[in-house]
Amino acid sequence: MNIQRLFKRLKPGRGAVISIPYFWLLLFFLVPFFIVLKISFAEQDLAIPPFTSLMNLEEGGLLHLTLNLGNFDFILSDDFYAKTYLSSLQTALFTTLMCLLLGYPIAYAIARTDPARRNVLLMLVMLPFWTSFLLRVYAWMGLLNENGLINSFLLGIGLIDEPLMLFHNDFSLYLVMVYAYLPFMILPLFSHLVKMDGRLLEAASDLGAGPIKAFFTITLPLSKNGIIAGSMMVFIPAVGEFVIPELVGGPDTLMIGKVLWNEFFDNNNWPMAAAVATVMVLLLIVPIAFLHRFETRQLEGKGNE
């Protein structure tokens, strides 16, 4: 990070303004993370709160610090956790790819329409956010289940004799995951695609490139930032997703969010849950750091122009 260089370029008064987001991050990301990290080194206890404290002040002013590494050791030694992390990453990756494949043409189409219609289309993408996320998942449950609207309709018109198994399996899981996260892919893609200079495509066409070649040599590379931003916005929350797998996923869906829930609520083991969360955050920091490096590099690139 090049915060100092960034600050130098800015006028002194702006430092205060810039510090607000950092303060925000410190207060609502870093501090909670350290609280979780602290709990992950504690031991389960039957008390309020249900874990031991790390520090004990003994008589004579001796400060005792007890760090319990057992939780992390357990996560590493039991391959169940590795399998779960892997399966979460896999689910998130597949969701991201599907969102990209679906979202890119949508974003492209919106960016290419005339401005008047563009706003209406953008509005349609954002409109679902006016309803609670949870209600939208419930709506899918109503559509997909065995006695749901889709099955009732298909049975009613006689297209099928037995209800289709649309619910509580991988199909419903990915359908709803992609549905829920698609806008997060479309919006950043759109904001990059809309800025693209249309004359570049005209030039390519003049020089004899067909639409496919023009797309792959001009549009796609120019929208790379949008692809990365959109993918991160989908991938990162999808890894930790709990509600969708729980409500519409199948019994064999293995996600880290559920394991965390089990540790916290079923085993009542807050330290173990905290350790699982810590490892998840560390796993997610890798893509975030990647994104951040990419953005910084871009910022620098623009500064040198």
Partner: protein, 365 residues
């Protein structure tokens, strides 16, 4: 009972309320299971005492426990189930009862109170609200047909013997999504101690579960009610009261589905939900008033008729609907009770093992 879905919806609402308990003598904050009281009870209590009641609901013991262990819940009465209550008592969360403030305490079923000493030694903290059984329910016509016209002599075999379960698979088999509820039943079925402390017993139970895994089509702790009454399930392992609700619903909508809560003679799992007062309750006196009010025979009977579970009060039985009283899944016979067991808490090591085995069982990994 675990109704996770609704918890999410209600969680935000109750969280907003929970924090705002104010020290005032005419208030009472109750946190109870969803759909677990007659509509007339709270208005009746408010009228009788002038106490203003704030009534919030939850749908899983886990949610309640997390809130209690965080501390300062703001509630004056909560209603945990036996296994959870046992641990919460050990964690010193609740107020020992001053029974002189509960004149109706004498009406409580002495046999039930004796069962309760297993998790509340000396009956120091808890007043039973409702109790019931974990058992199997069937879609009578479809299950009988799938099994060739006759249920097996040991009705548990329907679920736990792969050859029977395989026949029922095509019409839907559902199981409670909770290792804490299912493992004791499997252990009991295998003739082992349902509260076993031996890891090997739980591994053996998991092996039995794995043998029927291909035939379990659904894991659900509340959704099965609708699916059973709608006809898309023909065998469920669930809560007796919920299976009765499914039966009532099927009758109401005239779906033609006949639902039956079975009470296998080999015994069932018994749970008891009890009212307790958190240590930091600000309106403990009002909590006593409410507990005493809900022990009143007529009030208890009204609640029981509404939720189709058995109350702790004996005189209440005079006012309970005859059909409910005669239903063995609400009031099991003495013979069944003698072979049944109260579910007890697992120590952390066993709990971890069962959660882990359950995940393996469920995800087939």
């Amino acid at each position: 009972m675990k109704r996770f879905a609704r918890t999410l919806l209600l969680g935000a609402v109750s969280a907003a309320y929970a924090g705002s308990a104010v020290a005032a003598s005419n208030e009472l904050n109750i946190y109870n299971w969803s759909d677990y009281i007659a509509e007339s009870t709270i208005p009746g209590f408010q009228k009788a005492t002038g106490v203003k009641v704030r009534y919030d609901v939850y749908d899983s013991n886990e949610i309640l426990q997390a809130k209690m262990l965080t501390g300062k819940s703001g509630y004056d009465i909560v209603v945990p189930s036996n296994t959870f209550l046992a641990k919460q008592i050990q964690a010193n969360l609740y107020l020992p009862l001053d029974k002189s403030k509960l004149p109706n305490y004498k009406d409580l079923d002495p046999e039930l109170m004796k069962l309760m000493t297993k998790f509340d030694p000396g009956n120091k903290f808890a007043v039973p609200y409702f109790w019931g059984i974990n058992t199997i329910g069937i879609n009578t016509d479809r299950a009988t047909k799938a099994l060739g016209g006759k249920l097996p002599a040991n009705q548990w075999d329907m679920l736990f013997k792969p050859e029977h379960a395989a026949k029922l698979k095509s019409c839907g088999v559902s199981m409670l999504d909770s290792p804490a509820e299912v493992f004791p039943i499997v252990l009991h079925y295998m003739g082992k101690d349902p509260a076993s402390k031996s890891e090997a017993d739980y591994r053996a139970a998991a092996d039995l579960l794995k043998s029927i895994r291909p035939h379990v089509t659904r894991f659900s702790s509340s959704g099965y009610i609708n699916e059973l009454s709608g006809g898309s399930l023909c065998l469920v392992l669930g809560y007796g009261g919920d299976i009765n609700i499914a039966r009532t619903r099927a009758v109401e909508v005239k779906s033609g589905v006949k639902v039956q809560a079975l009470v296998p003679k080999e015994g069932v799992g018994i749970w008891i939900d009890s009212m307790v007062i958190p240590k930091d309750a600000k309106n403990a006196d009002n909590a006593y008033k409410f507990i005493n009010y809900s022990l009143d025979a007529k009030v208890a009977a009204a609640n029981a008729n509404a939720v189709t579970y058995a109350p702790g009060s004996l005189p209440a039985r005079k006012f309970i609907d005859k059909a409910n009283l005669a239903n063995p899944s609400i009031f099991p016979s003495k013979e069944v009770m003698a072979k049944s067991f109260v579910m007890l808490p697992m120590d952390p090591k066993i709990q971890r093992l069962t959660t882990r085995l359950w995940q393996e069982f469920k995800t087939r990994k």
